[in-house]
Symmetry: D2
Subunit: 361 residues, 4 copies
């Protein structure tokens, strides 16, 4: 059985796990001041070419979104996003729980369009009753999106430009950032660090056991972040648990992978393990896509260049596929077809995809 | 340098860490349904003699308190505790952040007294303006307390009795439960499971990298807990991260410690690692106490039988001690003395204490 | 200048004001127990044919919506409504401020369609990820709607039926209820009391200085309402201020209007002043509509039978109209036309409309 | 029966009520922009000698406290007050409902002592774990206090000085401000406007039907107050309802009282009705006190110079007193005595007190 249900159904990348052993004996500070978190911050700043970045480590994605948005927003402000955004759909109302409205605009292929954003903002500020409506206080996008799609650098620049015009911070949810960076042709961490006011580098879905790294690339994090993170129940006493993992994820892949050997898709020679993990999964996702689309003749549900692939599968084929692959039924397409999601990750092996190719061809 | 600043300045117990390796290859369900969490639940139910217990795994302590209390309380209710309670002092207002007042009564040696509790409740319900005051909806105690003290079984029974009379759920914060159980002469997990409506077994301070196990011993957890935990940002997608650890912590110490050998203070032959960890730290704490009180002649600041020891140190001695030991200045006692906290844990070694004994005698 | 900007730009109906004088000397209980509130409750129960109704008086509409919805909903639940709903647009996020998501479905002429509601609920409960989404906990509609339209009795029955199937309480915002009841051909207060779980009778826009009457027609109000209303800052110490007004509004119009004489549109002989107020305003709105549509040839923007009339006005005509009438530009229709709102109320006089007819014909 | 249970068991001062009639025909703006609110603001600015004051009108006291404190505080901050403070005891947790902890210090005769405040703040900022505790963000006091006592100008200056040193805004709850100003020998509105960052002038208990005037004497109100007030459910659409009343209350008492004639305790010739109301009630409270203490020999429970008088009454006398007077049992003093509260107001008449003097002497 090949498991492609999700990118969080596995353990941790071996390098990450090994790093826990290597560091276990050390006694450290807590609440974020431990040496592993400090070193992880240094590595991330370097990878982002953002020497002034302030960086915080939290345990999970929904927690990160709710906490950081609450810190970005004034209590009377809401957050703009597209209607397929994770915060609008799949976080059990965690943003509203902190008092903020999610202001959702219609998505285009899972993305927020700069033009839609600008039009909405023009409408809001032209409205004589604006004070009776929820004031927009930040813009939220995901990279890659919930549907596996990616913003181009140009699209991000356009959104950034709207945000600048309206003085709204741009927040990028990077739960699957490793896969997005690997798949993008023109978006890099340094670029992201230029156009975003804050973003997070997802660990949970990208090789870690848990943990997300929140980056304020220009510094300028809100005041008293430690206290606010704790107020949201998101401050880890033993902060090294995330620090150790991000130190491993942002160490050069070369070093970190010496023991593994066979990572053939490795990107630039000294790129961090984090990016190497993304490339591995995206390469396998592309092979999967060729198998499903070119060989098996299924239609893509949406054109995704990342580790999440969505295909339209005839309902009659579902049971057969399920014998070999674990995957998720995403949504019905019509009476006889279902859009299904297949997710690769750092844990998916070439052997697994090769097996699938043999079984299904 | 011997580090006695806290019980969260270390990594994880070796057995816990090793279990990550042993389980890493497996693909699992997520959001709490993984096989490791399921097995950990089985082991905890067994240790608590509570076959109907519902158990949830969260990442950290403040998060656990805020989430569980919010689920226990009606939106218009507050939580009763003593004024030294962690939720009242050191959680950055996380409980109030969810809308609930912390109703604090004066502590007696870090503990809530059943008599004080009953008197307060009698006063509240006799007050003609009660509807204008915050209604009490739960009682919170810590075991052991923030000052290292312990409730006796009789004291817990008395508190339980007041709770029953007023139909208030009793919630026990067990951030350091392993150490409390090891030090208590009459409180066991099965006893706790009888008198508490919900408690948590702390992992972070008791051998895990992170994670707390919330136990509703009689079942009867509030509805839609998964959704509420997520709403609080406390649901881990890769729930195995905590499940794996609690599976290790609640496996018999015998098995789990085979590879270690030298754990001489081991309790009953098939007791879980969790209890064995507690005994180890408490034994060392007692040696520390003999050293400081009997040999060095310092006064205890409070009479603690657990892994947190508080001594009154002349300010002139502080610098000297700091050359050998890391510890925390707790509070000034008078112009020339400071109460200081020294904390042992599963990670403290006999060698470290022996070294201290030599250095300081 | 004829003021048709809103139905809250005036004082109070003379009968209401006079009642303040008549009752001023009396000393009463407070916090809702005063004799005027008690008598007002009796009159409202009678008007609703709901002898078991529990009734609460609050000061304003947004406060009422936010407070009552928060009491109806579990903390993890959201409220379903259509996207033009007042709570979704024009209450500055007061519902989200209390932690609840507003789950907005596309409106049809300002109304929530029972079919859309059912389809959404079917989809929600069929979704395997429902626990990660906000659970629906109540349905909110307005009568009349923000666009002046009305649900028919059949439409309300259909919505009620969906609510019953899914065990969702139905909440009706009646900020302009007097005008809705006057305009409807088949919806009465007793009917509303049958199909709604809770509704409010708006005072502020229907003849009072301030105040709204929240009616739980079947009893069964949530526990500790007084305390919760106070927690929301919505409990009036001197509760008589609203009680006195609703006593006047629900006294028979006959009696109450003796001193006025000329209320010719009076409905059934012993109908409360509240309904008589509605009839008066709706009659004048219909005259206004005939003037604008039949005589002046403007198109209705939406077909409203109530006191809010929306016409599509050529931008070139706006200035001219503004010389005689105060009204509100609602939204642009195209480059040369604007939808404008004209609102009558109990305070609009026949003379004013007659004057307009002369000026504009 | 003479009613001294509270100062909100009556209607409105005749001048206030009459002003409703005089203004009823006028059509006005809404949401605070009406001409009556504007004129009331001008009068209040004048009375406070605070030409830059920003002024907002809300409906009730708990609402005002919760809304204004939430606007003053950052989301992670709490409010300092004494433990008898209304927000700490009798507002059903409305402040905590908005997410803020009430940081209560022991009261001295119902008052917060500047020395206690400074000591607490010194302790907080010296504490190494301050980031884990709730940060103080404002100081709340009541004038007069819940026990009828008054801060002297010197005491207020001392508190102000602590607030300045720690950059904390000082908020004064003036639910009974009229009575406090009348009783104080050295605190005036202009003085208060100098030392407070924001205060409110209570209407509900001081002659109005409802309504409180929030004054930011130096301007500098938080941004988007209208939107925030609405978010708290505290924005009145028909804002004139409070504006009209405060216009009456702050018009010169001379003018306003022409029709009344007999207000003999009138203060300075052109003082506002608001102050005249306070003097009237305080004068009668002093007569009451002479009757109870000097003639009847009861002990004061606390030494109150304002309209709330507390006497220690033998339980055996309670029933007899209740035959003539309505009052409130405040709290038991010992097995045979009860502290009872007797409250005068603008509505108490000299005849009523004279009757009591006859009956009880």
């Amino acid at each position: 059985m090949i498991h492609l249900e999700s990118d969080y159904n596995n353990g941790a990348h071996e390098v990450v796990l090994r790093h826990f052993f290597q560091t276990n004996a050390e006694r450290t500070q807590s609440y974020g001041d431990d040496c592993f978190s400090q070193e992880a911050r240094r590595l991330i700043r370097e990878a982002c070419a953002a020497p002034d970045a302030e960086i915080f480590f939290l345990a999970g994605g929904t927690q990160t979104n709710a906490t950081i948005l609450d810190c970005l927003l004034q209590p009377y402000e809401g957050v703009l996003c597209c209607d397929t955004a994770h915060i609008n759909v799949h976080e059990s109302g965690a943003v509203e729980f902190t008092g903020h409205k999610v202001l959702a605009l219609p998505a285009r292929e899972g993305k927020l369009a700069a033009g839609d954003l600008r039009a909405w903002l023009e409408g809001y500020f032209a409205d004589g009753t604006a004070e009776h409506m929820v004031r927009p206080g930040a813009v939220y996008i995901t990279f890659p999106t919930e549907l596996g799609t990616l913003y181009s650098a140009a699209e991000l620049r356009d959104i950034h430009s709207v945000c600048t015009d309206y003085q709204l911070p741009l927040y990028v949810d990077g739960a699957r950032m490793a896969y997005g960076l690997a798949a993008s042709t023109d978006v890099t961490l340094p670029f992201l660090a230029q156009i975003a006011d804050v973003f997070y580098l997802g660990g949970t879905k990208c090789g870690a056991l848990c943990g997300e790294a929140v980056v304020f690339p220009h510094g300028a994090a809100p005041a008293h972040m430690l206290s606010r993170i704790k107020q949201h129940g998101a401050l880890l006493a033993k902060s090294r648990v995330v620090g150790v993992q991000f130190q491993a994820l942002f160490s050069p892949a070369e070093d970190s992978l010496v023991a593994d050997g066979a990572e053939e898709e490795r990107v630039a020679e000294c790129s961090p393990l984090y990016l190497s993990i993304g490339c591995h999964a995206v390469n396998l996702a592309m092979r999967l896509r060729r198998l499903f689309v070119d060989h098996l003749g299924y239609c893509p549900f949406i054109d995704s260049p990342t580790n999440q692939q969505f295909f339209v599968i005839p309902n009659d084929d579902l049971e057969g596929l399920r014998r070999h692959i674990g995957f998720e039924a995403w949504c019905p397409v019509d009476a006889t077809h279902t859009a299904c999601r297949f997710v690769t990750s750092w844990a998916t092996t070439e052997e697994e995809i090769a097996t699938l190719e043999q079984l299904l061809s």
